[in-house]
């Protein structure tokens, strides 16, 4: 028995060991599997399947008409049934929405599960206070202020206000809420003796000054508004709460654009407040068709995300897709436009961005009027624009503001800069390593003479200097502002000069690295500049291994991956790959008055931007230009 037990014990320990080994083996194999899964072909996610197409309005209308007809005739055919089913579902949904939440009991009663969603304002002030103390963890949580007072009237009524320190403006709370209630509420002609829920209506209409006053009874709504700077007024005997808009926190004033500077054109940039940002856009588009829809993201931080578009221009499918993606984001914290971008973009692993971020209102306005959708996030000066094309990442608003020849000159310069920023070090490495015959004799002699004392191969030299350059750039960004300027001088002058004198790098390489750096600074989009910086290293590595063949291989890989990419259903390389109808605005642009139609790839509701003849003064008779 004992033996058996022992055996059993041994057996079990062996079993354990075996299990452990298997577990380790399993882990090992799982690791291999995980590694292989990166290489093995997988089905694509449905997101790739979204292709932006025009809306067939006639089809939708037809379907609606069919539905109505089927319901009216009451025929028992399939279509009628389906239509009725849809209608019933819709009604059910509506009725559920209309349903009032259950009135719950006091918090103090044991065994009662109360959630914020079904909690309603109680007529008893004391109960409400208890609720709020639980919800906001008062008085430990010092951010929330609960001020008790009596409403001035013949029979003074108990009341209190609740607001968040720092989010609500102190002066508005004092002057617009507390003062009227405590001083003027019960004047001689007043009806302040009315009680119950009517009290709230009366106060809203006659007493408080706030320009936005709501009456709420669900705690869920009250909490949300108080969290966002509102002031809640609770009154004894009234089962409703008055919410006064008192938002007012310290904010950065609207300043100049920091990352997208231009010389010609408006200078203002977005700041961190959602409402001032939407205001900046509205200021430029004084049109009721400009829509702003708010969506909340982030389970914990509940940030407001505004989706802005032109109702009469933007493709409804595009707007739907944008909203669908944002609404489907489920995460604790989404507080920054870059984070939201990562949540909703099509190809997260590709270097080139598929969503443009800008801090310039004029740019957003231009894109909105083109039929694109803007995504604004509260607390963020960067607005996302979708869909984005590759070519628009290389453009600045200034290209349009300047006269045609200057604008095109800038654009050409930038295209050249893009190629220099990606390939110049690679071409230098390829030529000096493999294709020396390309260089004219005098120049090659000069290069050889300069490189005579350098003991390292060209590619090592290039990588060393590129690394140093990136280091200067990164350090220059992180270093405290006061010593920032010194760092630039130290980095650029002393390091380069010393490296040459020490014989570690050749002087010609300093020129190459400097020109490459300059070129990469001239790329207007921050993400795009990052992408090019990364691609440059790929070029250099393959050029060092295979010369121009390597350069051409990287070109090919990048071009084909760009051609396969999409941004919200629109191919990234439109209007060139695939070829779509376009106005003269791709690499170079035509005159402003010749851009008559909106981009074809956006399939906008309203295709025409301006009539065929927009400069009507050029024709003698005014009738010759058709109207927009």
């Amino acid at each position: 028995m004992g033996n058996r037990q022992d055996n059993g014990g041994e057996g079990s320990s062996q079993q354990k060991e075996r299990d452990q080994q298997e577990k380790q083996g399993g882990l090992f194999f799982e690791g291999i599997k995980a590694g292989l899964s990166l290489l093995v072909f997988k089905e694509k996610t449905p997101v790739d399947n979204f292709i932006l197409e025009g809306v067939d309005e006639r089809k939708q209308e037809k379907r609606q008409k069919e539905d109505v007809a089927a319901i009216r005739t009451g025929e028992g055919d399939k279509l009628g049934k389906e239509a009725r089913g849809r209608e019933r579902k819709l009604r059910k949904k509506e009725s559920r929405m209309n349903k009032k939440p259950m009135r719950v009991k006091r918090l103090s009663e044991p065994g009662e599960v109360i959630t914020l969603a079904n909690l309603l304002v109680s007529p008893e002030l004391k109960v409400n206070k208890e609720y709020l103390e639980t919800i906001f963890s008062l008085p430990e949580n010092k951010d929330f202020v609960l001020r008790e007072f009596k409403i001035f009237s013949d029979k003074p009524t108990d009341a209190f206000v609740l607001f968040m320190e720092g989010m609500a403006e102190r002066r508005t709370v004092n002057e617009g809420v507390l003062k009227p209630l405590m001083l003027f509420a019960g004047g001689k002609d007043s009806n302040i003796d009315i009680t119950g829920s009517k009290m709230a209506e009366y106060i809203k209409e006659h007493v408080v000054y706030g320009n936005q006053v709501d009456i709420e009874e669900k705690y869920e709504d009250i909490v949300e508004k108080v969290n966002y700077g509102g002031t809640a007024v609770f009154i004894d005997g009234c089962p409703r709460c008055i919410l006064v808009e008192t938002k007012g926190w310290d904010r950065r004033p609207i300043g100049k654009s920091e990352t997208e500077q231009i010389i010609w054109g408006p200078q203002e940039a977005f700041n961190e407040t959602l409402r001032s940002n939407t205001g900046l856009i509205r200021k430029s588009i004084r049109n009721t068709n400009l829509m702003t829809e708010l969506i909340k993201v982030g389970v914990q931080n509940r940030t407001d995300v505004a989706v802005m578009y032109m109702k009469n221009i933007a493709n409804p499918r595009l707007v739907e897709e944008v909203k669908r993606r944002i609404e489907a984001v489920s995460s604790d914290y989404v507080g920054e436009s870059g984070m939201l971008e990562q949540f909703i973009e099509d190809h997260p692993f590709m270097p080139v961005p598929q969503i443009m971020a800008t801090e310039r209102p004029d740019r957003v306005v231009a894109f909105l009027l083109e039929g694109k959708v803007a995504i604004l996030i509260d607390g963020n000066p960067h607005v996302l624009i979708v869909p984005t094309t590759f070519f628009s990442l290389l453009q600045t608003p200034e290209d349009y503001y300047l006269r045609l020849p200057y604008g095109n000159l800038l654009r050409l310069l930038r295209i050249v800069a893009m190629f220099i920023a990606t390939t110049l070090p690679a071409v230098y490495v390829a030529i000096t390593t493999f294709h020396q015959e390309m260089i004219p004799t005098d120049l090659i002699l000069a290069i050889a003479a300069a490189r005579e004392t350098v003991p390292l191969p060209t590619v090592v030299e290039v990588f060393m200097m590129e690394f140093a350059f990136e280091l200067i750039r990164e350090a220059g960004l992180r270093v405290p502002g006061v010593i920032g300027n010194t760092l630039g001088i130290v980095g650029a002058l002393i390091l380069g000069q010393a490296a040459v004198q020490a014989g570690i790098v050749s002087p010609i390489l300093i020129i190459i690295v400097a020109v490459t750096g300059l070129a990469s600074f001239s790329i207007p989009n921050y993400s795009m500049a990052f992408a090019l910086r990364g691609i440059r290293f790929l070029f250099t590595i393959l050029a060092a291994a295979f010369g121009f063949l390597g350069v051409s291989a990287v070109f090919f890989i990048i071009l084909s991956s760009l051609s396969s990419m999409k941004s919200f259903g629109v191919p990234l390389l439109v209007p060139k790959g695939p070829k779509t109808k376009t106005e003269s605005d791709v690499v170079l642009r035509g005159p402003v008055w010749s851009m008559e139609e909106r981009p074809d790839y956006l399939d906008t509701l309203n295709r025409r931007r301006q009539p065929r003849i927009s400069r009507k003064w050029t024709v003698e008779s005014e009738k010759r230009g058709d109207d927009n």
Binding site: I439, P440, L549, S552, L559, S561, S563, L573, K576, K579
Partner: protein
Amino acid sequence: MIIKITKLGYSEAAGLALVFIGTKAFLGYPRLISQLGFTAGWLIILISVFVSMGFWLILSALLAKYPGESLLAINEKVMGSKIGLGINMLLFVYIMLSTGSLLRQFSEAVILTALPEAPVSAVAVLFLIPAWMAAHLGLEAISRSTYISLPFILVGVLVVLLSLYPYWNIEELYPILGAGLGPVVKYGFLNSSVFGEVIILAILASYFSFRTKTLRKVGLFSLVFVGIYFILITVVHLMVIPMPMATESITPFYQLSRAIYLGRYYQRLESVFVIFWTFTAYLRLAIGVMVVALIIRDSFKIPYYQPILPAISLIIFSLALTPTDVLKAVAFERDFRLPYGWVVNFAVPCAVWGVAVLTGKKGRRSRYNGERE
């Protein structure tokens, strides 16, 4: 399974055909033509363009009988599933062999011109991996890249040809009939094998968004365009590098770009043009890998082609390294493609067309119309 329908426009279709046929100009094709017809090489091309246009008209008549269907589906429908599959496999083997041969020739050309010390297998691998990656991304990606890069390639070629203007010597084109009327006509017909690769338009017919009538025009346009471009290169080649020497170079286009000398600083540009023709080589190889994979997928009705890409790449790599030396690889053009290419590309489809006309089978939309990924 997510079914994505790929639909390409006519610009992309024409781009595919132009690159698929035209890439040979960067390899030994101008030399081969000079070997066959001496100074009348350009005449051979002219004749073969007309011959292949005739064949293409028959081919597009076959496609018109079954609108929206690819040649692969038509073969199976007209000839029955077994013989049809056999014909499809013949196409598969032909494109596989020609892609393998091109891979070898391109690798050898790179070694000859730019990387003299690189092993051929390394260069071949560097050609194949990006081609495989592009094929993995899909026909859309390849056709768009082709369309975007086409203007640059054409401008590159034109720059080379025009920069040689000081060396153009029109007298080198005489005698007009070169090797004589007999060989010129004979090779004019056989040379249609080179243009026969326009068949990829028929193989990919189900992926195009336009009608068969437009496809016929796209095919004719591609043949004429490639014909003119071949003639230009051959004529300049013969004018700059006169006749006996014209038959000796392994890479005539490289030799042409090497001959450029317009002052002290505008010379020795051959390395720059290496980028142009290697880029074209990448496009051509990617289209080859892609078409082969699509033939397999559509013939055997498998849902995805991506998993078979490694196998296809490996086979093409092996085929490329099979010839023992560069001369044997180059001889493939003369001994295999020239005499037999037109049979696979034109004669067999014409036979299928004959059968279709005789049996009077009508078309219906194909089950596998459109790319599935």
